[in-house]
């Protein structure tokens, strides 16, 4: 009798175990899914990738009645079947998806969703990671809807959150919180709490002289791929924080590798660098006000030849580079002692014989970029309007030939 009791008990326990296993078994279904992975919707805390980072929506779009009305028309036809007529993410088609559409009525969730992230999601849908791997069925709309139509849909979706103002970081600081935390740890001592370049340590790096830490609230950015006077692209900023900025520096830069006046943060994970840049950009509303971003294309560098360098020497003289950089390129031209930047601080002409200290990089394409964009806020002008691309390469290779490595490369080219 006791034996039977134990057998029946074991059978009962096995039945419970079987039930629990079926309730949450290993992935055996054809689509690898056994239950909904994310009932909270397709929102993920990831930054928009670099190619979408500059897709900020002009602030006026969010409150423009015409845009909202246009967005409603599109949303009703194309989006509501999943996202629901009320934006609750419970449209009849969305209800059956493994990755549920987000609830746009969720004020906190909407406030965290940056405009470039939102635009990226609408444009690429579930084709982008990490959403693709999670089984998102969101279609990409970049081929069906124009940029303005996507903005319109976003503006209408935004109304579900109940927020009546523009969807920008200065209305929703929570959308740049992650970047703010990184900024406080890594940048605030030089660039200051408000991004004005007035941190406690920054000014001591090069006392009383340029360069000083960048004031992110101004429109004067040196290292750009955009024309003179324009703000840089996010990719430009990404390159700067990744590689740092080389310079002769001051007394406190000895600890920074490679004569850097700003350290490179290439070891920081890419997502953190992107988050940081979103916070940095939030200091300057200009990043949201520009509708079209023009960048200067850099052609593939031609080979260095003695003829090209000889033409470059002539251009160096004709363009009066030697007035500041000097005949030998050591930054000792007749005008060098009088040079000042936009803040009226004395600024040195770069010693062209030391390319490993060039702020914008030492590769031929880096020098090309410097020549065509100039350094905003400094006496270094842009030659985009005065030199043809081939002439820029001539001048870039002449500049490189002023260093010992460049001279060696030139000797090799002569053979």
């Amino acid at each position: 009798m006791r034996k039977l009791y134990w057998w029946l008990s074991a059978l009962g326990i096995a039945a419970v175990a079987l039930g629990m296993w079926i309730a949450d078994p290993p992935a055996i279904r054809a689509n690898g899914e056994d239950k909904h992975e994310d009932d909270k919707g397709g929102h993920a805390h990831v930054p928009a990738p670099l190619e979408y980072a500059d897709n900020h929506v002009p602030p006026s779009v969010w409150t423009d009645p015409a845009m909202i009305a246009r967005g409603k028309e599109i949303f009703t036809v194309k989006c509501a079947v999943c996202h629901g007529d009320t934006g609750d993410g419970k449209g009849p088609a969305g209800a059956v998806l493994p990755l549920k559409p987000p609830d746009f009525r969720d004020k906190a969730g909407a406030a965290e969703m940056r405009d470039n992230y939102w635009y990226w999601r609408v444009s690429e849908g579930g084709q982008a990671e990490p959403f693709k791997s999670r089984g998102s069925a969101m279609p990409p709309w970049k081929d069906d809807l124009s940029r303005e139509e996507r903005w319109a849909v976003m503006a209408y979706q935004h109304t579900f959150s109940g927020h009546n103002g523009p969807h920008v970081p200065w209305e929703h600081p929570e959308m740049v919180m992650v970047g703010r935390d990184i900024y406080v740890m890594a940048c605030v001592t030089c660039h200051g709490q408000d991004g004005k370049g007035d941190g406690t340590v920054g000014p001591t790096l090069s006392p009383g002289r340029a360069p000083q830490p960048r004031n992110f609230t101004s429109n004067l950015f040196k290292l750009r791929s955009t024309p003179t006077g324009q703000l840089p692209t996010t990719a430009d900023l990404f390159r700067t924080i990744s590689e740092g900025i080389r310079a002769d520096g001051g007394p406190l830069t000895f600890g920074l590798r490679g004569y850097r006046i700003m350290p490179g943060f290439h070891q920081m994970p890419v997502e953190q660098r992107l988050e940081l840049l979103e916070y940095v950009k939030s200091f300057n509303k200009g990043f949201w006000d520009r509708h079209e971003i023009k960048t200067i294309a850099i052609p593939t560098p031609p080979p260095m030849t003695p003829e090209r360098v000889a033409r470059g020497l002539q251009l160096y003289k004709d363009a009066e580079c030697l007035a500041c950089h000097g005949e030998s390129g050591r930054g000792d031209g007749p005008s060098a002692p009088t040079l000042k930047d936009a803040s009226e601080l004395p600024i040195a002409a770069t010693d062209l014989t030391l390319p490993n200290r060039f702020k914008n990089g030492m590769r031929p394409q880096d020098i090309y970029r410097t020549l065509v964009t100039g350094f905003s806020g400094t006496p270094m002008p842009s030659y985009a309007d005065s030199l043809e691309p081939d002439q820029v390469w001539d001048l870039a290779y002449y500049v490189l030939s002023l260093s010992s490595d460049g001279r060696r490369a030139l000797e090799t080219a002569k053979r």
Partner: protein
């Protein structure tokens, strides 16, 4: 004897009670229609989950339903209603969500819901 069997019966009922509803509730397979074969009554869907993309062929039996969602034409109603469509109405590229049962090594559709026509 009755005192000993009581707890055992409770355990058995609890176990079967757990199993029953779960077998009936299987997760939908959602993805892009890759192929439709009306002759074989099958639908091939490319689906991605947990980082893995795979192609699943789903069999449609006489009881299987295929629906899409359309706006109600009833006066005063603006919501969506289901509209039945045929297997050969489905087109490659459409996004669907399929509730299916696992029968042997096949997935048999109970209902196919069109998420998006493209």
């Amino acid at each position: 004897m009755i005192r000993m069997i009581g707890p055992i019966v409770v355990l058995l009922v609890l176990g079967m009670g757990t199993v029953g509803p779960v077998i009936a509730d299987e997760a939908p397979i959602s993805g892009t229609v890759k192929a439709v074969d009306p002759a074989a009554q099958t639908l091939t869907v490319e689906t991605t989950a947990k980082g893995k993309t795979r192609t699943v062929t789903i069999l449609l039996k006489p009881g299987s339903r295929i629906v899409k969602f359309v706006r109600s034409t009833e006066p005063g109603k603006t919501g969506f209603v289901e509209q039945a469509i045929a297997l050969d109405d489905l087109k490659p590229g459409w996004i669907v969500s399929v509730t299916a049962k696992h029968e042997g090594d096949r997935e048999v559709a109970e209902i196919v819901k069109v998420v998006l026509e493209r």
